[in-house]
């Protein structure tokens, strides 16, 4: 195999993880019948809160737990306003994004007197995991070993999500809510309850995705999620709203990102163009996917 390909694929696996985590939570809201564009804000909230709490408590596990809680709190506000005050989910989710980007900067200014990049020196790097069984497999092993703990956790979580969605009564009901809300009501169940829980789940996984971004870097950069929540949304659509589909779709984007990073170093492309690649790539993928679906629908 090409010597360039392995490092690029290796970093693709790392880059895809926050996307995969956010997409997983987004899958819950999506299947419950709500378009959740707040993934971005929830990630940002988790990213900021995790590293700040890690800094103040001196313990990464506690920090991440509190970060997750902060993001879930925002998700709970989002859920309450949307479901109980009966607002347009699209607009409230936009509000959550705006709120997160405002609050993180305001708090960073208040706590550290700095609106820009905040570097946290005392924070240890994320623990890396070497799985000996994987290491033995050629090529495959080189790509999948030596990642940080979030990467492997995301796979376990994905399996868990698939199990919850497809093997538990809760999962059936959640999906039923998305397919036919009225049917749920007539069975005596409350769709808003399932949707609220779906929001909480998305807060949970998005926070983990965000936490990986900041803790990996040891710093908070304003707007560090930079569109990742939106791409996670596209991952859900491209992954055909199936857990296994998410994995492949996220890998595609991880690869695009890793490749553009590589291209920046190798071919000296202007940084702004590099940053634009994921959006263009996502756009092309979206369009191709919708051409494919519309063809398929026409044939049927």
């Amino acid at each position: 195999m090409n010597p360039v390909a392995i490092p690029v694929l290796h970093s693709a696996v790392a880059i895809m993880t926050p996307l995969l985590l956010a997409a997983m939570g987004g899958l819950f809201t999506e299947l419950s019948g709500m378009l959740n564009i707040a993934l971005e804000g929830l990630m940002l909230m988790g990213a900021f809160a995790s590293i700040v709490f890690t800094h103040f408590t001196g313990n990464m596990v506690v920090g991440i737990a509190l970060g997750v809680l902060a993001s879930m709190l925002l998700a709970a506000i989002l859920g309450t306003v949307t479901l109980h005050l009966k607002s347009n989910v699209f607009i409230t989710a936009l509000a959550a994004n705006l709120f997160a980007s405002g609050l993180t900067v305001v708090l960073s200014f208040k706590l550290f007197g700095n609106k820009g990049v905040v570097v946290f020196d005392g924070i240890a790097s994320l623990p890396r995991l070497d799985i000996p069984v994987l290491a033995k497999i050629p090529v495959f092993g080189d790509i999948f070993i030596g990642h940080n703990i979030f990467v492997y956790m995301s796979w376990v979580l994905l399996a868990l999500c698939a199990w919850v969605l497809y093997r538990t009564p809760f999962g059936f009901r959640l999906r039923a809510t998305g397919i036919h809300e009225q049917a749920m009501v007539s069975l005596g169940m409350r769709p808003s309850r399932y949707r609220f829980i779906a929001f909480l789940v998305s807060g949970f996984t998005c926070a983990l995705g965000g936490a990986m971004l900041t803790l990996n870097l040891g710093a908070f950069v304003p707007n560090i999620t930079s569109g990742k929540g939106w791409i996670a949304l596209v991952v859900i659509f491209l992954g055909q709203k199936k857990p296994i589909g998410l994995l492949f779709a996220a890998l595609v984007f991880g690869f695009a990102d890793a490749f553009s990073n590589y291209a920046q170093g190798a071919w000296n492309v202007p940084a702004d163009f590099i940053l634009a690649i994921p959006y263009v790539f996502t756009l092309v993928a979206m369009v191709l996917f919708s051409i494919y679906t519309s063809r398929k629908n026409r044939v049927e």
Partner: protein, 353 residues
Amino acid sequence: MVDRMEKRRVTIVATLRNSIGAVVIVGIALAALVVLSLLLSETPMKTLRYFFLGPVQNTYYFGNMLNMAIPLIFGGLGVSLAMRSGSFNLGGEGQLYSGAFVATISALALARWGSAGVVVALLLGTCTGGLLAALSGVLRMKWNTSELITSFLVSNAVVLVVSYLIAGPFMDPATNLIATRMIPESFRFTRILEPSNLSSALFAAVIAVLVVHLYLYKTKSGYELRLFGLNPRFAAYGGIRTKWYQVWPMFLSGAFYGLGGGMAIFGTYYACMKEFSTGMGWNGLAVALIARHRPGAVIPAALFFAYIESGARNAMLHSDVTFEIASIVQSVVFFLVTSAVLQKIGSVQRRSV
């Protein structure tokens, strides 16, 4: 005659009762601001005074606040048109920025044309914004790709490309700013409230509101657009060209953003600075939502947003909070603005095409 007056009285009462919900929402947002100041500021009273009174304390700040509302009015009109037709345009940021950029470089290229150049340059900027948005409309029409997501993605990519162009090939080497060269004097709008930045673009904004109002409510095309937005299937059975109304409103929507961008350059900035318009696109969207897609209501909604922004700017200058406090207040508005529960407070049921 009496009948007509009675009818008018009923309409006014209904309008007032319908706005109670909006007042409640604005009230909650401002209450959030008070709470934030108490929590974040060492001198909360001072912060609040600058926030609330700063924008109206003198001609300078007042004019700047009105000036800030101009691009929001254009953006708000654009989004309202798209929303009325049932399309979502999330690409305001890129449409406004690229419209401003194209208007600027056209102005630089057409420097010798004088006032004809102004019109052509603004038109080119307008079309740039319009075509970017129309692309999403075409994708939706042809393959049912969600215009909501594509407009956002296109916009994000375009913002980066425009930034690259400003910082690279079009950068003015004479200044330290990352910006294009300044547009010629003859292209700049007159200042109408010295010493503030307020320019005659304000009149253009007011005229634009009138035009959009007339278009939506007094023309056949506007009627078809609203009908398509309310019920696409009914519109199709009624013989309305549904394909056209998936693209045309998006074009108009982007065009207004592009025009707003051009106006901001010709009226205020005189050169296209890197990322000068960050946030304007989103705020235009917010304005349209608060106005509930009614062109007439876009002006007060834009003024409200401009007030919050300039209040935050004032509080930042004179006190110890940062500007981003504005986005928190705005987000509170967003959270509540579409709430059916809050809107129902005191409202009279009314449904119109």
